[in-house]
Amino acid sequence: MMTSVSKLLANRANAQKSTGPKSKVGKQASSKNAHKHGLAGSLPGGERVPSNINGELVNDARRLGYSDEDAAALVDALHTNRSVILAKHAAYAEQPIEDKMPNMTMEKIEELLKWWMSPEVKVAPRELRYIVKLLYKEVKKDNDPVLRLRRKIDAHRKLMRYEQRAVNRVRRAVKDRK
């Protein structure tokens, strides 16, 4: 318990002090940090779906009277909507316990930080207070049920426009039968 808590604290404390990546590779990697669901970009049809299922759905659409082109467009639209649905579920899923900061007071965080730091490391009291405050914010973010719920609602709010677009696409694709 102690090791994993200190590890979490260390990771988050170091992250707060970071001035960002320096190397090209690091910059490239961090450029993907904000990538949440990939719904804004193009979604090639069948990318997340095995080709046999993809083929089955296209065949089914053909059986319902769609041309090859329209059947592919319809299946693609359904996949896009399915991706939005998966993103919505992922946004509402609870954070895994091991990634969560345990519920702690500011005093406990300070105590753990002092315990974790080696005696040679000299941290100014002001800097220590600053890190404790930042970590406490993280603790609250992970443990406050209302904040967690608000975060989930906000994630769904952000997905709403993709949802609207995806469902409209499905409706249009079903209609566009030549």
Partner: protein, 192 residues
């Protein structure tokens, strides 16, 4: 955590409660397969979120009510345990389910201390959670629109082949009728 029944990890959509819900909706459509099955599954998902958002709306208000009551001033940390207990108490009180007299008295005492009754506390909590409630209302509205569009899509996809066949037959019948009347006219002309 009583406030929100969450499912840990990535597989929220794999949760038994969700799976049961999808199965119920599929059953009401007589378990369609393939493309129609996928459309019904997506429809079921929209129904599911309406349920979740409505529950979250209530939970948000209740937990805001609990926070207001547990609040001990700006510089004192809110007691999470007390807040959770208050949440449960308020929840049972609003559901009119039996709660012991002692709990009722504690709740009443806390509300009086804050200058509230149940209605005014709820109104205050709703006011504080208004941005999130507004978002949830928009999300619910979006799900209703999704349901309407997906139902239309399902019906078009399902009934279009029959409609197509019917139209084809009608066209053929019309063609025969036109051909017959043409033949009649030709015969008429020939006779004259």
């Amino acid at each position: 955590m009583a406030i929100n029944k969450e499912v840990a990890g990535q597989g929220y959509e794999q949760a038994p409660e969700y799976q049961r819900h999808v199965q119920t909706v599929l059953a009401s459509y007589e378990y369609p397969k393939g493309l129609l099955g996928e459309l019904v599954r997506q429809l079921a998902d929209a129904f599911w979120w309406i349920k979740v958002y409505r529950r979250d709306k209530e939970n948000l208000i209740l937990s805001q009510m609990a926070t207001t009551l547990a609040d001990r001033g700006r510089y004192v940390e809110v007691d999470q345990h007390l807040r959770l207990n208050l949440f449960e108490l308020l929840s049972s009180r609003l559901r009119d389910s039996d709660s012991d007299t002692e709990s009722r008295a504690t709740l009443d005492e806390l509300m009086t201390e804050k200058g509230h009754n149940l209605a005014s506390l709820r109104a205050e909590a709703t006011r504080q959670a208004l941005p999130q409630i507004d978002t949830l209302d928009r999300l619910i509205d979006r799900q209703f629109k999704n349901i309407r569009l997906l139902m239309q899509a399902h019906d078009s996809a399902k009934f279009a082949p029959q409609l197509h066949k019917k139209l084809e037959l009608e066209v053929k019948q019309l063609e025969i009728q036109v051909k017959a009347s043409d033949d009649d006219q030709r015969l008429e002309v020939a006779r004259q």
